[in-house]
């Protein structure tokens, strides 16, 4: 599997080349959000706003009213917690074209509880006019800009930085409202988002080897959520559905799927993998994923719960799974 170094850094510069309306605002996390090269390449389109997120949201709103498309760059947690009122009233109410690029979502940061955005989707999903996208690999980091830019309103993006795996081929960009079908099966459906998809892929390969037939969908558009697509998958699953997300189980993908099932009257069991209504703490990502049950083994356990069968898979079995980039058959399905 290819690992891409700082995919956003190069891609944004190239993408913004012929888009003079695109400006970047940063709150003292410019290198940390991979826009230092953008700053150096287009110094007149980069605005350092200092550690003042509330004001930054207002400036972005004003720039958007004047026809610019501000791309706010900061850690995900600093986009929605401190300046929530400003996001709501200065940006979301007037439906302005501001792109909120949230880095280090969930437990991808070792920065501890202050730096971990664990209820961002829950909070921002409740905001009218807000679109929510989440990147699961380098291809999605590269292609999310087009998806976001096509939205006539504010967009919140959970972005991945640093060494990012390429799970999906470059030729298959993120598409709004369309999940990637990564595996087809009839026992159960797995819906995963963000970094959990890589973990899920590890588990589903091993589970398939043990004879569990799984339909696996990678979701990148959390709002508006494509309910029909999810329902279609879940309706054809014998045991039910498992959601897997780098977020609290309250208010994110798990909740979205629960609402979708209930509204459709589809009586299937749901197991939600995610932070189980808990804060996390500062540590490495693999440690946190294991400790809080967001990893491949957590999915194995959830499958056991749903099917009532013990699968006797070990950490070693999962570690042995070799991940190649996965061609999604979403394109075929869309035809």
């Amino acid at each position: 599997m290819e690992i891409v170094s700082r995919p956003h850094a190069r891609n944004l510069i190239e993408w913004a080349k012929d888009k003079p309306e695109v400006v970047v605002l940063s709150a003292d996390l410019t290198g940390s959000c991979e826009v230092d090269d953008f700053r150096d390449t287009y110094p007149d389109r980069f605005f350092s706003m200092g550690m003042a997120e509330q004001n930054m949201m207002g400036f972005a709103a004003g720039l958007a009213r004047e026809g610019y498309t501000p791309f706010i760059h900061t850690f995900a947690v600093f986009i929605y917690r401190r300046p929530y009122d400003q996001v709501a009233m200065s940006i979301a109410y007037p439906n302005l074209r501001v792109r909120l690029m949230g880095f280090l979502p969930g437990i991808t940061t070792p920065g501890g509880v202050t730096h971990q955005a664990i209820e961002d989707i829950a909070v921002l999903r409740a905001l009218p006019n807000m679109t929510i996208l989440e990147c699961g690999d380098a291809t999605e980091v590269e292609s999310v800009l087009d998806v976001a830019q096509a939205v006539d309103g504010p967009v919140y993006v959970r972005v991945l930085r640093g060494q990012v795996p390429r799970l999906f081929p470059k030729s298959e960009p993120m598409r709004k409202g369309l999940a990637r079908v990564l595996r087809r099966g009839t026992d159960l459906t797995v819906l995963s988002t963000g970094i959990c998809t890589e973990e899920a892929l590890r588990a589903t390969a091993a589970l398939a080897y043990r004879g569990v037939s799984i339909r696996h969908l990678h979701v990148s558009t959390l709002k508006p959520f494509n309910a029909a697509e999810a329902l279609d998958a879940i309706a054809g699953s014998r045991y039910g559905v498992i959601t897997m997300e780098n977020h609290s189980i309250i208010g994110g993908l798990g909740t979205i799927v629960a609402e979708t099932l209930a509204e459709a009257g589809l009586g299937k069991k749901l197991v939600r993998i995610g932070l189980n209504d808990t804060f996390a703490h500062g540590a490495s990502r693999p440690y946190l994923m294991k400790k809080y049950g967001l990893d491949a083994m957590a999915l194995v356990r959830a499958v056991e719960r749903l099917t009532g069968e013990r699968l006797d898979l070990t950490e070693d079995d999962l570690a042995e799974v070799r991940l190649d980039s996965v061609h999604s058959d979403a394109k075929v399905e869309a035809l």
Partner: protein, 311 residues
Amino acid sequence: MMNEPTLETRTWQDETRRVAHGIRRRVLEHTIDNNGGYLTQACSAAETLATLYVRVMNLGPSEAPLVPEPFPGVPGPRNPHYFTGARYNGPQAPHLDRLIFSPAHYALVLYATLVEVGRMAPEGLAQFNQDGSTVEMIGAEHSPGMETTTGSLAQALSQAGGIALARKLRGDSGRVWVYMSDGEFQEGQTWEAFQALAHYRLDNVGIYVDVNAHQCDGLMTDVMNIEPLKEKLEAFGARVFQVDGHDVEALAAPAELAPDGRPLVVLAYTQPWYGLELLKEREPKMHYVRFKSEAERDRYREALERMTSEN
């Protein structure tokens, strides 16, 4: 138009004072009729808003209907019918000024101003706080004269900063005027905004502040002191003028100066009972006037009659 000045005989100062008097009279009348209103804000802000509209701001003619249209629904991708209250301040053009109105609870005062300067019909004021109207009690960006949604205080200045930055990038000559209340200087965001205005040398922003020294809970010196405001703002890099907020010439003068790289601030020191001494009895609770008895209301009716005959 009824309120149009005859320029041959009236100076801008006369016209500004007439508008200010009209603002007080209309808000007093409204407060009596509805047994409630933001009356002290009219008394403190009348000269400042009159000066902005008559003398300071370079606005084009209103593009909105004299009688405001009903609420068009909230903005969003599925509502093509939404409109902005900024249409009352004329078109947007590179050479024209903008008004970003921060204390949305001063809406009644702003509406009265629009009536007095001929941008809204008096019938518009009658729609105040009526269901389905855009003439809302705490206005939002569809309300006459408003461009932003700033009922959650201290959010306007940052938005004005973004607008001013965009206008600088484009090379617009028009300025961005911001009207603020002094209570907003208790919010951290205000200081974040000043920090950024100074950093980006946004001298196309001019801020008029109603320093009436009162807030919802009472005197600001009791609730949370903000003074010395001039020194604090200067330390933040602003160009600050402290003026008598009821003196129209003093209010207008700083706006005549050529911009010098610093955001301009005019601290208009005002009295929330100015022009209506009766209000003084309500000290220190001046934020919202609701009459305690019919007798009290009658005394305000008498004041209104006197005010009307002075006109």
